[in-house]
Amino acid sequence: MNKKKLATVWLGGCSGCHMSLLDIDERILDVAKLADIVKSPVVDGKDFPEVDIALVEGSVTSDEHLAELLHIRKNTKTLIAFGDCAAMTNVTGMRNYFDLKDVFETSYVNSISNDQEGEVPDNPYLLRLHDKVLPLQECVPVDFVIPGCPPNADTIFYVLFEFLNDRTPNLSEAKKLKYG
């Protein structure tokens, strides 16, 4: 049997979803029997290759994220929005209620620890934040969504295992829906 290729990606999120992924514990061995993890914050490898399944954590906050997501979409058969940030922007999107300029100044200039001496970084090599943080499905078509902040390890394993066995999971039927 051909092993599937699995990737996990960390965009605008806190990595909590990846922590929860690690919480599948020894079941990672069941995943490893069916798939190779070819790209992930927890494995080596620079470029995002062609994969069967990609778990994408976090929302799209910048030009860099958007370019990355478009590349992932092009190279992925099943793109899974992984967690509340990817699905509905969640905490990452809380800056959407404010002007980006105010957000920058609050963080880099007016923050008490800056003693009013900080400045907004503008190095051309830095990524450019978008005005609004967007969930994945507003940027590219998404094949499946696992909500939750973070999703339960059981839910993550269930979804992975179903897809790795060429079945389509149903979180609602499996009573595994969770937000927050």
Partner: protein, 236 residues
């Protein structure tokens, strides 16, 4: 005058009191109809549009909480069309304000969250509005967070009909609608609020909460409101 009528809900034949609404009769017969703005004991207003049902002979949908039963009424509560609308309504609740479950006091004990699970909402297909909303912390005991309000008006009705204080009201229209204290003044300066906390118990989300709790600690009892109203009916 009370009369008995025969109605059919999802092919189930039911003899019902004609003074009752479709929702009341359905609940008495263990037929589930989703609601957010309904709270037993308070006047029904048909605000949330989740309890929409089909009535045979009409292309329109009717809100079960404000439509009384009538002889030979044939009601459908679970058609594909109804389910589709329930899902749309739920998603629009989430897209309209800023419902960040992860940082909410009501996380895990929220009627809106539970509604999402019931309709099987795994993602929101509509663009979020991300409105900038006020959080009123001026009251010594309680907080009103507009980010989490779904404009169901249960707090307004609990305040007016149960406590009789008339502190809460509604201002504006459409997506700009806001629950206000007195004449849109800070809650802490209210001359009508008795700080009884009934609005908190009536609120289905984390929009109204007590300062004494933190994230995920909310423990609301909207049934208190129902119990109070039931007890008031008793003749001593």
């Amino acid at each position: 005058m009370m009369a008995l009528v025969t109605i059919y809900i999802d092919d189930k034949k039911i003899i019902a009191n004609s003074e009752k609404t479709i929702l009341e009769v359905a609940r008495e017969n263990n037929i589930e109809i989703l609601t957010m703005c309904h709270l037993k004991g308070l006047t029904d207003v048909g605000a949330c549009r989740l309890c929409m049902v089909e009535l045979e002979g009409s292309p329109k949908l009717f809100s079960a909480c404000t439509t009384k039963v009538a002889e030979n009424m044939i009601v459908t509560t679970n058609s594909e069309r109804i389910k589709r609308y329930q899902r749309i309504t739920t998603e629009l609740f989430f897209a309209e304000r800023n419902h960040i479950c992860a940082v909410c006091v009501s996380n895990g004990a929220c009627e809106l969250q539970n509604l999402g699970y019931k309709v099987g909402m795994e993602a929101i297909r509509y663009p979020h509005l991300f409105p900038q909303c006020d959080v009123d912390t001026s009251h010594p005991l309680y907080v009103m967070d507009q980010n989490r309000c779904i404009s169901c008006s249960r707090c307004i009705r609990a305040c007016a009909e149960v406590e009789g204080a008339y502190n809460w009201d509604m201002m504006g229209r459409g997506y700009q609608i806001r629950v206000i204290s007195d004449f849109n003044t800070p809650w802490g300066e209210s001359t009508t609020c008795t700080s009884c906390g009934k609005c908190l118990q009536a609120c289905p989300t984390g929009a109204l909460w007590a300062k004494s709790i933190v994230q995920g600690q909310q423990d609301k009892h909207p049934e208190f409101i129902t119990d109070l109203m039931e007890r008031r009916k008793m003749k001593l």
